[in-house]
Amino acid sequence: MNRALKRISIAVLVMFLLLMINVNYLQGFEASSLSTRPDNIRAVSEANQYERGDIVTADGVLIAGTTPSNDFYKYQRYYTDGPVYAPVTGYDTIYSTSGVEEAEDALLSGNGSQLAFRNFIDMITNKPQKGATVYLTINSKAQLAAYEGLAKILAGKGRVGGVVALNPATGAILAMASYPSYNPNVLASHNGTTVNNYDEALLRENPSPLINNATQTTLPPGSTFKIVTSSAWFTQATTRNTSSMVYSPQVLTLPQTVNKLHNDDDEVCGSAGANGQTTILWAFSQSCDTTFGNLGIDLGGQTLNAMAERFGVNDPNLNIPGVTVAPSQYVIPDSPPLTAFSAIGQYSDTVTPLQEAMFAAAIANNGTLMKPYLIQQVTASDLTVVQATTPSVLTQQVVSPAIAGYLKQMMIAVVQDPQGTAFAYNEANEGGLEIAGKTGTAQNLLNGSSPNPDAVFTAFAPANNPKIAVGVIVQGGGYGAAAAAPIAVAVIQAYLATLGIR
């Protein structure tokens, strides 16, 4: 019997070895893949057992924080001024994350590899694990002005709008507002039913509040695209300057078609007369469509496209951590009449408010376009910096400094010249602040519900020492100067006030 017993003992040994090997495989090897399965609510729950890091604006306003929670999880996420900052922070639900919450999830939750050593120290010293704090480039005053400006015009209208403000010298995003917005506090609820109901309600809404219109919605740039057309025209020959004469008819007869291009209200372009010539400065400040339509035909679609791309258009790889960006588009037209329309920001041209801000920022920064970024730095709970963004160049010299100077002069004229389209915001009216900008009033055939054109404005200020560049698009807002410019000016004023500049 002992021989059989010894064999049974070996069988028992094998059974226990199998169990041990299997447990080792499960907890040592397979664990990481099991933990990242989408249906594993333990991973989400585990994250909520630790204090998630805060999200703070550049001027120190806490926009996403945590409070101890008495329910199933130990901590509850909350958002200050949720709808204002929703396109910036994103949301952190028990199921998924978006925006900065998604981009910096590893560090916010405290699980990032950069924090591994600190977590180990915390474990030894018996301190609870805490997520890292994310500092954004956002300025709270500018953000609030942007959102309130949009809400004032768009509340209850069923149309969308977006604002982006950049620091032209660095590319730091100072404001990024979208309308309509949503309340991320509801999505942060620990009650799955509440989250699902609100999510379904948001998905049913049209336009969707979950889309960040500042960077994901593209609309026609209208006349603001004349910045690109002018840049291409100046770049073509170094002899040209703002005093150069350009052909500015009252009506431009388009080749190959019976269609004619008129200026707004069929106006004559400045003092040029029905078939005359005028300076490009004059045509730009008055936004003469016939002038720039004609320049577009002369330059050709390829040249316009090349210049647009230098400004960041058609770039599917513009990757801003924490921001979902839809590429702005310029499609090369296959006929001169369409090229004429594309040169004045119509045809298939569509841009985001971010792109609008980038137009102004490149000019303001002497022709060099900085890459926009939102996350300034991330600091661990012991205040050491674990991640920081250094400004980088997106396009070195979109245009030469001299041409950037011409464009600046022309954009100043748009606001400061009594004949300019945005003269309402001139130095005298804005308390001595010199703003440079370009209005756009874009026909949008897709605006079925609204007979109004889209209002667009891109600007920077102070004109001679630019600190901020703003892009605004208000769908169906009407004239750019009437609907978009006030928001941009409010954002500029709010931001410069924090810098002590009037």
Binding site: L5, I8, L18, L19, L26, A31, S32, D39, G192
Partner: protein, 486 residues
């Protein structure tokens, strides 16, 4: 050459009872349990330290009672059996305390994707006290066994009575209405519910009765079973008439499988019988016959009965849409258990810091995954080693003991314990299909705990017999020997 560990006898003139070793080991076990209690208390909010101290004192007092009983009635018993079992029992109480505490502080429970709240715990507020009462009952039965069964061979007299009791206990729930025998939330009919008092799972005791009965039957029939028969294809087949008992056992285990939806127990049951018949006869043919008939029966059942087939499907494809997402989320429990163990990783979340309560019925069948989550790989390896050590002590006893009946009983019970651990731990870690049986000593519930302590009592009695020094003559040689039997 016999290994010294297996064959050594205490020197004739210095019989070492090793009770002191047992006491030291017990203190060690108490220290671990107390540490685990304290660890849990510090991790959870809202604990009451006084009740914890009370639990710990009660537990220590009960186990010390067992130790004193061993000193008095089985002084030569193996010194590791009681400490190892006590350690498991204590850790089980700690885990039940931890799982029960998680439901406090007004926690509403996790919300599933349908938006409904899953109750965080099904444990009542008295679960810990009850488990300690069960421990007391278990130790009571342990002591009673040592007091009343002085010599294991007396059990041999009741071979057929024990067999009958075993079969009745197993069959009883099948004939009772589901309201009494059904386990809520599962299709199994394995208990006898006594309103107001709780429920008994008779199969836990039936396994012990049947093991004793098998041992008696096989000792009587081992010669016929091993010698008579024909040789076919190099395998010695037993005679048809000797196949009778194995056929009966096979049918009873199939009945369990089908009528009571209790696949796990039927596997343990069948494995126990096959192992014992093999130990008795040393004939590999019995292993083959037993194994083939069980696997064949299981596959047949998987084809014929959907609930058995589902178990296989869950095992093979736990993450499939059909098993995990679609109603009734058949693999949800297994997958949550796996997620729990994955969440634990190498070192675990620490007692009180994991989320084991998301696994349905974590306090009973899946308690091992709770240990995996909170103590990690390190913890569950330790648990497996503790089980392995108990089994090893039992098998060692079987090798040492001379009487064939006792040998068979010790070997069979040890193997049964090993098999039970294999079936449930293998099940929750997806080594084999998950079948709901209790985890010895750890799971919440009285029947399993009491039966496990009786098993330890039998092993203690057998090892006491094996290690007891031969009776010493108390007078001169040559006369009629009068011996002193303690």
């Amino acid at each position: 050459m016999p290994s010294p560990a297996l064959g050594s006898q205490p020197p004739e003139d210095l019989p070492a009872s090793r009770r002191r070793t047992e006491l030291i080991m017990l203190v060690f076990a108490f220290a671990i349990v107390a540490f685990a209690f304290a660890n849990t208390a510090f991790s959870l909010k809202g604990q009451r330290l006084s009740s914890l101290v009370a639990y710990m004192i009660a537990f220590v007092a009960i186990i010390i009672g067992a130790h004193l009983a061993v000193r008095r009635w089985a002084p030569y018993a193996d010194p590791l059996l009681v400490p190892l079992a006590a350690l498991l029992n204590g850790l089980g109480i700690v885990m039940i305390y931890r799982l029960h505490e998680a439901g406090r502080n007004g926690n509403p429970g996790p919300v599933n994707t349908q938006g409904t709240t899953i109750p965080i715990t099904t444990l009542s507020s008295s679960a810990v006290t009850l488990q300690i009462v069960y421990t007391l009952l278990g130790i009571g039965c342990f002591v009673a066994f040592l007091v009343f069964v002085k010599e294991p061979r007396v059990l041999q007299r009741y071979t057929y009575l024990l067999g009958l009791i075993g079969v009745i206990l197993i069959a009883l729930p099948a004939f009772l209405p589901s309201s009494i025998s059904g386990v809520a939330g599962t299709g199994a009919k394995i208990q006898i519910a006594i309103p107001g008092l709780g429920s008994i799972q008779p199969e836990e005791f039936a396994k012990l009765a049947l093991a004793a009965s098998f041992a008696g039957y096989l000792v009587a029939k081992r010669d016929v079973l091993s010698l008579a028969g024909r040789r076919v294809l190099g395998i010695d087949l037993p005679r048809g008439r000797d196949l009778g008992p194995i056929a009966v056992v096979w049918l009873v285990s199939l009945m369990l499988l089908v009528a009571e939806s209790d696949i796990g127990t039927s596997a343990v049951f069948m494995g126990l019988f096959v192992a014992m018949i093999y130990i008795a006869t040393s004939r590999t043919s019995w292993l083959l016959i037993g194994f083939v008939s069980f696997v064949g029966g299981a596959f047949l059942a998987a084809e014929l009965f959907s609930h058995v087939g589902t178990r296989f499907s869950i095992w093979l494809h736990p993450f499939s849409q059909q098993n995990l997402i679609d109603y009734p989320q058949a693999s949800y429990q297994l997958v949550q258990g796996l997620y729990g163990m994955a969440n634990g990783g190498l070192l675990g979340r620490g007692l009180g810091n994991g989320l084991p309560y998301w696994t349905p019925l974590v306090q009973s069948d899946l308690i091992f995954t709770a240990f995996g989550e909170e103590l990690g790989l390190a913890g569950v390896m330790a648990l497996l080693l503790i089980y392995g050590l108990i089994v090893q002590r039992g098998l060692r006893t079987a090798l040492m003991i001379k009487d064939p009946y006792s040998k068979l009983l010790a070997g069979g019970l040890s193997f049964m314990l090993a098999l039970q651990v294999f079936v449930i731990v293998g099940g929750v870690t997806r080594l084999i299909p998950l079948t709901g049986i209790t985890t010895p000593f750890l799971s919440q519930g009285g029947s399993s705990l009491v039966a496990s302590w009786i098993l330890i009592a039998v092993l203690a009695r057998l090892s006491d017999t094996a290690r007891r020094p031969p009776p010493r003559p108390i007078q001169e040689e040559g006369l009629t020997q009068v011996v002193s039997v303690r």
